[in-house]
Symmetry: C2
Subunit: 143 residues, 2 copies
DNA sequence: TCTGAATTGCAACTCAATCTCAATATCAGT
DNA sequence: ACTGATATTGAGATTGAGTTGCAATTCAGA
């Protein structure tokens, strides 16, 4: 299913769905959760598929443009991505004590952001909301 | 005022408020709005003050730790900072075409986030909301 | 003024990400 | 299947932000 969407995206730009691009796509969609380019590359290298580091990066950028993959954050050690097909958009709460990541979604929040963009005549395409603090467990533990 | 806070922060760690650190601090607080390390360095170099690139980076990290400066975003061209002393909390819209950063604030948005935290029994302390897209000018330019 | 810790600047370095380019693959049209 | 035009690949070079090692320097307190 993802490959069909990617296929379409590529041909709309006169690009081809090659073996290497297929490798990257399949590997990404076989991963559950977040990943970074280097690990993605290594996991492809260690499988029966193949693609150079350059191709992994190039394909990753195409996938982001196609909307199938999203860049979640830019850490000081590089970018982190996740695939979004079949996933609803969501935001994150991050516990600064234990590192737990809680996903959440609020339609109301999304609407509000849309309104704010309109007010500023800004054409928003994506957003990242990251709330940092302490999760339930860590609040208790601190007492 | 900022220098007093920084001074205190430094001595609490057994560090000194040197000329170079003073240069960086003063230059940052003379800038209105956002800045990146390279421009900060250049503006210091072109003024009567002085500090090497290394010192600028080192001081910048100290200032972030002290809470006087915040890192707003990590773009593909490096980090962007702003000084926070005397500033109310706000969020950012970032134009992916020209890099412009627009500040905004919404009480409603803040309330909503508080509610969401309560729902998840999460004790939120800070948050970062970054909306990426195209500013008014770049929307026009693209047509 | 002496002493030791902190600081500086330069250049070397790191590391993610991008680019170069020659070789290779792919597709459309014949 | 052949041909030409275009897209793609991988290996390694390159970029560029940010960090670090180190010898020389500054600074604060005794």
């Amino acid at each position: 299913m993802e490959s069909k969407i990617f296929q379409e995206f590529l041909s709309r730009r006169g690009l081809k769905l090659t073996k290497e691009r297929m490798s990257v796509l399949r590997q990404i969609f076989s991963i559950h959760g977040h990943f970074d380019p280097e690990h993605l590359y290594l996991s492809i290298r260690d499988s029966d598929m193949k693609a150079s580091r350059a191709s992994v990066y190039r394909t990753l950028n195409l996938l982001v443009e196609s909307g199938l993959v999203e860049r979640i954050t830019r850490s000081d050690k590089g970018n982190v991505y996740e695939h979004t097909y079949g996933h609803r958009h969501h935001d994150h709460m991050i516990c600064t004590a234990c590192g737990e990541v809680i996903e959440f979604f609020s339609e109301h929040l999304e609407d509000l952001q849309k309104m704010i963009c309109e007010q500023h005549q800004f054409a928003g395409t994506t957003h990242t909301l990251e709330i940092r603090g302490n999760c339930k467990a860590c609040q208790k533990r601190k007492k």
